[in-house]
C-alpha cells in the first residue's frame, strides 16, 4: 500500500486547530521584511497527520520490527525507558543557557557519564560534545593537529588509515586539512606492518584505527602498531564504532591509543532514528587533554560546572552551538546505569557469542567466511563471490532477497577490500531463534540463486516498493514536491 505525498492530502485552509495562537496582531515591521507568499506547507487535519505518518512508519524496517544485522552499525535494542527518561520535562524543557545553578540535575548525570566513559576506555578525560562518530573523528584529528602545532611540529599533516577503514576516517582527514594515506591489510585481516613502517615518517600526524576492525577481527599487533606510530612521532586515534565488541574486556588506552571517539548510538544504544541523532563523545589521554573540545563538565566541591575556553585555553573550541546532543547523552547515561559493570561485560560476551555462532553456522553451511581462521569479534564478513560467479546473484541480490524473508540486509560491499561481501553484526540483543532463521534464509536464497536466479533478481517483492531506479533518481532529480501544474 503506498502512501501519497502529504501535499497531495492538502486542502486549502484546512488546519489542525489548537496548535497555534488565535489570530495575533499584524507585525510591527515594515513591509520590506515581510514574506509575500505563504510557504507551501501541507494543509491537513491532525488525524491526517497521524494517519499519514503512522502509515509511513509502517513502511520501515527497524530494530523494533525486524532483525537488522547491519554490520558496523550495532543495531541493538534501544530500551524504551531511555527515551522516556530523557524526555522528562526537567530535561526536555531546560534551555541550554540556563545557568549551571538551574542545571545541576543534568550536569550531575553528565559528570557521571564522563566518569563512566573514562572507565570503559581507560582514557584520562572526556568531552561529550561531538554529535556523531564523524564529528568525534573530526575532534580527534583536530586535537592531534593542535598537539603537533603546539609543539611546533607544523609538517605533520598525514593521517594513516587502513584500507578497511570506514569512509568517515579519510573524509575526516580531509576535513581537518590532512591527507589520508592508505595502508593495506594482510590476508589474515591484520594490518600490514611493513607497509605501516614505510608509511610513517616526519609527516605522520597519526593513524586512525578501529579495533576490532571493520573486518570483524581484533587487530592482534596493536601494541606493535602503537610502537611504530609513536616512535615516528605520530599519535593513535581509535575509531570507537566497534567498542561493543570489547566492552569491559579491553581498554583502548591500554592498546596505546591517544584519543578515541565512541558512537554512543551504537555501543550505548541511543536511537538511530532513521539516520540520527547520535553522539561521538571523545576521550583522550593526558597528552591531549588540554585540547579537548569544550564545554566539558567539571566539579567544584559539590557543584557541577561548565568548563569552557576560559578554563581550557588550548581547546580546539566548540563543535556545536551548545553542548552537543544533550538528550542523546542522557539516553546513553540511562542505558549505562541500567547495564552497570556486569551488564557491560555481558554486552560484549553475547555480541561476540552471537557473531561467532552465526559465523560458524554459515561456514558449516558452505558460505565463505572472509577470515575463517579468526575469531569473529561482534561481527563478521561472508563473501558471496563464488555464488556470484556461478549464478550471477551478487551480494546486493542477497541483500534484497533477505528483505522478502522479513530481515534487514547486512551491510553490503563494505569493507571495500572483500569482494561481494556482507558484513553481518547480529548484536547481543538477538535471540538464537533469530540467528537460526537468518542462516536458514541465507541458505534458502543461495539455493534459489542456483535453482531460480530470476526470482532472486526480482526480489524484493514483499516490500512497499520493489527495486528502485537509482540512475533515474540521480539523473532526473526530483528532490522536492511540486504541484502537477508547476
Amino acid at each position: 500500500m503506498s502512501e501519497p505525498v502529504i501535499f497531495e492530502l492538502s486542502a486549502p485552509g484546512r488546519r489542525a486547530p489548537g496548535h497555534a495562537p488565535a489570530q495575533p496582531p499584524a507585525p510591527s515591521l515594515s513591509a520590506k521584511w515581510l514574506r509575500r507568499e505563504a510557504p507551501r506547507l501541507p494543509e491537513v487535519s491532525e488525524l491526517q497527520v497521524v494517519r499519514h505518518f503512522t502509515r509511513l512508519s509502517q513502511l520501515n524496517f527497524s530494530i523494533d520490527t525486524q532483525f537488522y544485522p547491519l554490520g558496523s552499525c550495532t543495531m541493538k535494542y534501544n530500551p524504551k525507558v531511555c527515551n522516556r527518561l530523557a524526555m522528562l520535562p526537567g530535561f526536555a524543557e531546560r534551555h541550554p543557557f540556563s545557568p549551571a545553578g538551574n542545571a545541576q540535575g543534568y550536569l550531575e548525570c553528565m559528570f557521571e557519564l564522563q566518569e563512566m566513559l573514562k572507565a570503559v576506555t581507560g582514557m584520562q578525560a572526556i568531552s561529550l560534545t561531538p554529535m556523531a562518530g564523524a564529528q568525534g573523528e573530526f575532534a580527534g584529528v583536530a586535537m592531534i593537529r593542535a598537539y603537533h602545532e603546539a609543539r611546533g611540529d607544523h609538517e605533520r599533516l598525514e593521517i594513516i588509515v587502513p584500507d578497511a577503514a570506514h569512509g568517515t576516517n579519510p573524509a575526516t582527514a580531509t576535513m581537518c586539512g590532512c591527507s589520508a594515506i592508505e595502508i593495506p591489510t594482510r590476508p589474515d585481516g591484520d594490518v600490514d606492518l611493513d607497509a605501516l613502517r614505510q608509511a610513517v615518517g616526519p609527516r605522520t600526524a597519526g593513524i586512525m584505527l578501529t579495533n576490532p576492525s571493520t573486518l570483524g577481527v581484533f587487530e592482534r599487533q596493536i601494541t606493535e602498531i602503537a610502537g611504530i606510530v609513536h616512535a615516528a612521532g605520530g599519535l593513535l586515534y581509535y575509531d570507537g564504532a566497534n567498542l561493543n565488541a570489547i566492552l569491559g574486556r579491553a581498554l583502548p588506552a591500554d592498546m596505546g591509543f591517544d584519543v578515541i571517539h565512541i558512537n554512543l548510538h551504537k555501543t550505548f544504544s541511543t536511537p538511530h532514528g532513521g539516520g540520527g541523532p547520535g553522539s561521538g563523545v571523545v576521550g583522550v589521554n593526558a597528552r591531549l587533554e588540554p585540547f579537548l573540545p569544550v564545554p566539558v563538565v567539571g566539579r567544584d566541591g559539590d557543584r557541577f560546572v561548565w568548563l569552557t575556553e576560559v578554563d581550557r585555553p588550548q581547546s580546539i573550541g566548540r563543535l556545536s552551538t551548545f553542548m552537543g546532543n544533550a538528550g542523546i547523552l542522557l539516553r546513553a547515561y540511562v542505558y549505562m546505569r541500567l547495564l552497570g559493570a556486569q551488564g557491560m561485560r555481558r554486552v560484549s560476551e553475547f555480541a561476540t557469542l552471537n557473531a561467532n555462532y552465526l559465523m560458524r553456522r554459515l561456514a558449516a553451511a558452505g558460505f565463505d567466511v572472509a577470515f575463517p581462521e579468526r575469531r569473529a569479534s561482534h561481527e563478521f564478513i561472508i563473501s558471496l563471490r563464488r555464488t556470484a560467479r556461478d549464478t550471477g546473484i551478487n551480494a546486493m541480490d542477497f541483500a534484497k532477497a533477505l528483505l522478502d524473508h522479513g530481515v534487514h540486509a547486512p551491510t553490503t560491499y563494505f569493507p571495500l577490500l572483500v569482494p561481494e561481501c556482507l558484513l553481518i553484526e547480529p548484536t547481543e540483543t538477538e535471540s538464537r531463534q533469530e540467528l537460526d532463521a537468518f542462516a536458514a534464509a541465507l541458505i534458502e536464497i543461495r539455493d534459489q540463486a542456483h535453482s531460480d536466479p530470476d526470482a532472486i533478481k526480482a526480489a524484493p517483492v514483499t516490500t512497499p516498493v520493489r527495486r528502485l531506479d537509482d540512475v533515474r533518481a540521480a539523473r532526473q532529480l526530483d528532490l522536492a514536491w511540486r504541484p502537477a501544474a508547476e
Binding site: H19, S98, A171
Partner: protein, 441 residues
C-alpha cells in the same frame, strides 16, 4: 551455541585479544540498576532542573510542540531504524525526508534541501566549506561573516574551517545590523561568500536585499542563516535581492524540537540546484521502482564519505534524522497558517516584553524593529541581575556583555508564544524588585 563455535566458554571467544590487554574484572562503573531505580534517580535529577520560566532565546526557542509530534516520531519504526540505505525497506523514512526537503525548500524559497546536519552552527560551518568549493567565480579562502551572526556559530565555524585554511572575516555592525557601508568598502576584493543572519542574533532585521545584491555583484556567494519560524512571515532567502541567497542554513530546533539542554537539534541546509553537487549530507530523491511505481531513495551519494571517502563533500554520516521526522510532523500539523500565527505571537509577546522591561527605570530597549528577540540595556552590569532572577526560577535572557561589548550592559530577551502575559508581567515585576534591591544594597 558454544558447541557450534567449538569453544568451552565465552571467555575463549576473546582469545585473540593479547593477554596483556585483556581485563578479567571490570568494576570501574557502578553496578547495574533496575529500571525502577533508574527511573527514580532520573526523576529526581530532572526535578532539580524543572520549573524555570525562560526568556532566553539566543539560538534555542521554546515553542508549543503538539503531542502528536513526538508520539509519532518515537514510534519504534522511526526511532529504531538506521539510515535508509536499503531503500525498499525504508520507504517510511525516505518519504518523510522527501517531504521535509519539500517543506524546507518552500520555507526558504530555495531549491534543494539535504536531510539535515548536526545543528545550526555546524550547518553554518558546512555552508562556508560548501561556498569555498562551490563558488567558481572566487578563488578566495576567505569568507565575510556579519557580526550579527550568532557568536557561537561563528566560533564553531571558525574551528571547523580552520583546518582547511579558510578564514572568516568579520563584517561589523552599524546600529544593530550589518553595516552596509562596511561591505561596500570591500567592493572588488575576492571573498568566497558573505554570511548574513536574518533576523540577526540580536533580533534585528538586516537590509538583506542590498547586502545580497552587493555580494553577488562582487562574485560572492550569499549564505543566509535564518530561524525557520521567522520564515513564516519574513522574506525567504530565495527572495533576497535580485537573485536570492545561494545557500540557506540554520538551526531546525524551533520546528518541534524541545530545547532539551541544547540538543539533539538539527541543522538544515538548502541551496540552489546549480550547486547541489557541493552539498554535504544525504539527499532523498523520488524515482520509480521496476514496476514503475513511485518510490524514494538516497541519491547523489557520490558526494558522500561512504562512496568518495577522502574526496567527499563532508565527513558527515550519522545526522539528526529523527529530529527531521519530528520537524516534518510539526510543520504538517501547524501548516503555514499555524506557523505564521506562532511567529506573529512570538513577535507580539516579545514586543510586550520589551515594553514591560523598557518601562523600568534604568532599563531601555535599544532597537526598534525586531522579530522575537530584543536587546535591553541596563544602567548596571547584567550578570548579577541574571543570577538573582535565576534564583526565582526566571531565566532573564542572554548576557551580551562578552560577545557584544559595543552594546554596553545589555541583555538579549525573547518571549515565545509559550510565555503568557502573566509570565511577562511577573518577569518585569521581579526585575524591578531585584534592581531595587541591588540599589538598596
Amino acid at each position: 551455541m558454544l558447541r557450534v563455535i567449538g569453544v568451552d566458554d565465552t571467555e575463549q571467544l576473546f582469545d585473540e585479544i593479547p593477554a596483556a590487554l585483556r581485563i578479567d574484572k571490570f568494576d570501574a562503573v557502578p553496578a547495574g540498576l533496575g529500571e525502577a531505580d533508574v527511573t527514580r534517580l532520573m526523576r529526581a535529577r530532572a526535578a532539580q532542573d524543572e520549573g524555570t520560566v525562560s526568556f532566553i532565546g539566543a539560538g534555542a526557542y521554546e515553542h508549543h510542540i503538539p503531542a502528536v509530534v513526538w508520539d509519532i516520531a518515537t514510534r519504534g519504526e522511526f526511532y529504531s531504524a538506521y539510515t535508509p540505505y536499503q531503500a525498499e525497506a525504508s520507504q517510511g523514512t525516505l518519504q518523510v525526508i522527501y517531504e521535509y526537503q519539500s517543506m524546507m525548500a518552500s520555507l526558504t524559497g530555495l531549491d534543494v534541501s539535504n536531510a539535515s546536519l548536526y545543528d545550526g552552527a555546524t550547518a553554518f560551518a558546512e555552508a562556508c566549506l560548501m561556498a569555498v568549493r562551490g563558488n567558481r567565480r572566487s578563488k578566495s579562502r576567505q569568507i565575510l561573516v556579519s557580526r550579527s551572526v550568532h557568536p557561537l556559530y561563528r566560533a564553531v565555524a571558525r574551528g571547523i574551517v580552520a583546518g582547511q585554511g579558510i578564514e572568516l572575516v568579520e563584517l561589523p555592525l552599524g546600529d544593530g545590523r550589518t553595516d552596509v557601508a562596511a561591505l561596500e568598502a570591500l567592493d572588488g576584493q575576492d571573498f568566497a561568500a558573505v554570511c548574513l543572519q536574518q533576523p540577526t542574533f540580536i533580533g534585528t532585521l538586516d537590509d538583506v536585499d542590498t547586502l545580497t545584491d552587493r555580494a553577488h555583484a562582487n562574485g560572492r556567494f550569499v549564505i543566509a542563516i535564518c530561524n525557520p519560524t521567522s520564515l513564516a512571515i519574513l522574506r525567504p532567502p530565495g527572495d533576497w535581492g535580485e537573485q536570492g541567497a545561494d545557500i540557506a542554513c540554520g538551526e531546525g530546533q524551533p520546528l518541534g524540537i524541545p530545547v532539551s539542554g541544547g540538543g539533539p537539534y538539527f541543522g538544515y541546509m538548502v541551496c540552489r540546484s546549480a550547486i547541489v553537487r557541493q552539498m554535504p549530507g544525504r539527499i532523498v530523491g523520488r524515482t520509480v521502482d521496476v514496476d514503475g511505481k513511485p518510490g524514494f531513495t538516497l541519491t547523489l551519494q557520490a558526494r558522500e564519505q561512504h562512496i568518495r571517502r577522502s574526496k567527499a563533500t563532508s565527513n558527515i554520516c550519522t545526522n539528526q534524522g529523527l529530529m527531521v521526522t519530528a520537524a516534518t510532523i510539526y510543520l504538517s500539523v501547524l501548516g503555514s497558517e499555524g506557523l505564521r500565527r506562532t511567529a506573529l505571537q512570538c513577535h507580539a509577546n516579545t514586543r510586550r516584553l520589551a515594553g514591560a522591561l523598557g518601562a523600568i527605570d534604568g532599563v531601555s530597549v535599544v532597537f526598534d524593529e525586531f522579530f522575537h528577540e530584543a536587546v535591553v540595556q541596563f544602567d548596571r552590569p547584567v550578570a548579577p541581575l541574571i543570577a538573582a532572577l535565576a534564583e526565582q526560577n526566571i531565566l532573564a535572557g542572554y548576557d551580551l556583555a562578552a560577545d557584544y561589548p559595543e552594546l554596553g550592559q545589555a541583555l538579549l530577551v525573547c518571549a515565545t508564544e509559550m510565555r503568557s502575559a502573566a509570565d511577562i508581567d511577573a518577569y518585569a515585576a521581579a526585575l524591578q524588585s531585584v534592581m531595587h534591591d541591588s540599589e538598596a544594597a
